[in-house]
């Protein structure tokens, strides 16, 4: 009989299941970043990872993000590192983490006597955290226990016809199995909004989805970002809606049950759109400063695994949740095999189909959930970024009844 200690999952107090058991070292202002890195670097063979918020001025989005990330199912405990004079509300974050049943301690650099004592004390604290985290109850992990996010970055002309449709196929299969799937970026979905609204669980949600795309369109227009360029039609794309289908293909064909904003947890299984575009007047510049910003936001929505499609060849992984690279372009796959988990470019030759690559992705999701490391994870990629944003609460039609 198998002992429960060998089961791959970690059962958390809120009922969610982790597929990793990470100890986070979280800096609460950029001034505490170096000490946090020094503490984590003492544990090269353990799952100890650094995240944090660089800002000194408070931001409720950043507070919600760090709270959601520090209580993410893949996280077993958190060491908070504060400089001391920043305005981040470290007490409430620490309370939220402990209330979730996790180990947490806080070190205030100015309170313990500076950098060197912080690192010494931090290493001792993380050792306590690792010991606590190893006591987490173990559990089976089914596909229905998973929240999976989809992101694309470094796209090229192959992304929309190989990797993204294959991820869409995988999303359809995962949703059939009871999983929760998240796709993103309404700014790349211009022209698909009425089709998307037709897939919404209710007319009210449909209107919310359309409003989200319109908001993104206005935001990017004001930021001076064009949406359809001559390079697009030289590559064979005829209309803006056709270009958007490349990104939209990641969503598959399941009904859309809800709309999320960063750090909002899905209430039921099914397919969700996440809206990373800030509400209100434009502040703080371009909202999605790099692919990692959106990946982190989907993880804050509970994603334990990220499917990342790339044509030109992105190499990023992520803190907290493993990233599966689905490479759209066969030439890129041949050039960067060490970074790519799935060769969706094989769809362009005669030896694979969207369905066969989609099945391969689902199989890999199951293996990664059972502990297999992705390429980026094994190489130590733990990218993380978090900036300033502001959001209004979701409307009443956005989340399905739990």
């Amino acid at each position: 009989m198998m002992s429960t200690a060998s089961l791959p999952g970690y059962l958390r107090q809120d009922g969610r299941k982790g597929i990793r058991n990470v100890i986070l070292v979280a800096y609460l202002v950029e001034c505490a970043h170096h000490a946090s890195k020094a503490i984590a670097s003492h544990f090269p063979d353990e799952e100890v990872e650094v995240i944090g918020f660089p800002g000194c001025y408070p931001n409720s989005y950043a507070h919600q993000m760090l709270t959601a990330l520090c209580t993410h199912p893949n996280v077993g405990g958190v060491l908070l590192v504060s400089l001391g004079c920043e305005s981040f509300d470290r007490e409430s974050l620490s309370e939220s983490i402990r209330a979730s049943g996790r180990w947490s301690e806080t070190i205030v650099i100015q309170g313990v006597g500076g950098s060197t004592p912080t690192v010494t004390l931090g290493i001792e604290a993380v050792e306590r955290g690792l010991a606590q985290a190893k006591k987490a109850p173990r559990t089976e992990v089914l596909l229905s226990d998973l929240v999976v996010g989809a992101e694309c970055g470094g796209s090229d002309g192959t992304s929309g016809i190989t990797a993204n449709p294959a991820v869409g196929y995988a999303f359809d299969r995962l949703v059939e199995q009871g999983a929760t799937c998240i796709f993103e970026e309404p700014g790349e979905l211009l022209g698909t909004e009425s089709h998307m609204a037709g897939r919404a669980g209710s007319p009210e949600l449909g209107r919310e989805l359309i409003g989200t795309v319109e908001k993104a369109s206005d935001y990017y227009h004001q930021m001076g970002h064009g949406s359809f360029s001559p390079g697009n039609y030289e590559g064979g794309l005829t209309t803006i809606e056709e270009k958007s289908i490349g990104a939209y293909a990641k969503s598959g064909s399941s009904p859309i049950v809800g709309l999320l904003k960063p750090a909002v947890q899905p209430t039921t299984p099914g397919l969700y759109l996440m809206d990373p575009v800030p509400d209100g007047e434009i502040r703080w510049g371009f909202p999605n400063i790099n692919d990692t910003a959106t990946v982190v936001e989907m993880i804050a929505c509970g994603a334990q695994i990220i499917l990342f499609t790339t044509g030109r060849g992105s190499v990023v992984g992520s803190a907290i949740s493993p990233v599966i690279k689905v490479c759209a372009n066969p030439d890129t796959f041949a050039r960067m095999p060490g970074d790519m988990d799935v060769n969706a470019g094989s769809i362009l030759s005669a030896d694979a189909t969207i369905a066969s690559v989609g099945d391969e992705i689902v199989d890999l999701v199951a293996r990664v959930a059972a502990g297999e490391q992705t390429k980026s994870e094994a190489m130590g990629h733990r990218e993380f970024t978090l900036g300033y944003k502001s959001f209004e609460p979701l409307g009443p039609s956005c989340l399905p009844a739990a």
Partner: protein, 112 residues
């Protein structure tokens, strides 16, 4: 859902074509084809009249003027004129239902 259809996906792939969704009325070209070349599509001969590179579309069947063209089961525009099987579908015969596509020169210089 993109899936296998009655059309042989592998035969299409050998011809350098993908049918992204069984309900689509266009194929996507996956390799360069030159003018005058003859492509065997599951035994059918397609004589290429316009040079095409990967990512371009050709009609799967006859499309009427005013008919919606779908790719991955999503509308991508309306046919401006009748389009015949294997004919190139692009700016000359397809219009957005959303916003007009900018020609080069109409585009703000700061756009990528």
């Amino acid at each position: 859902m993109p899936t296998q259809t009655h059309e042989d996906t592998i035969e299409l792939a050998r011809a350098g074509l993908i049918l992204l969704d069984p309900t689509d009325n266009c194929y996507v070209v996956t390799r360069d084809v030159s003018v005058g070349s003859v492509v065997d599509v599951g035994g059918e001969r397609w004589t290429v009249t316009v040079a095409l590179s990967p990512g371009h579309k050709v009609a799967r069947g006859a499309i009427q003027a005013g008919e919606v063209v779908t790719k991955l089961a999503v509308p991508i525009g309306v046919a401006l004129v009748p389009i015949s099987r294997f004919e190139h579908i692009h700016l000359h015969n397809l219009a957005s239902q959303y916003i007009p596509t900018h020609e080069r020169g109409d585009v703000p210089p700061e756009s990528e």
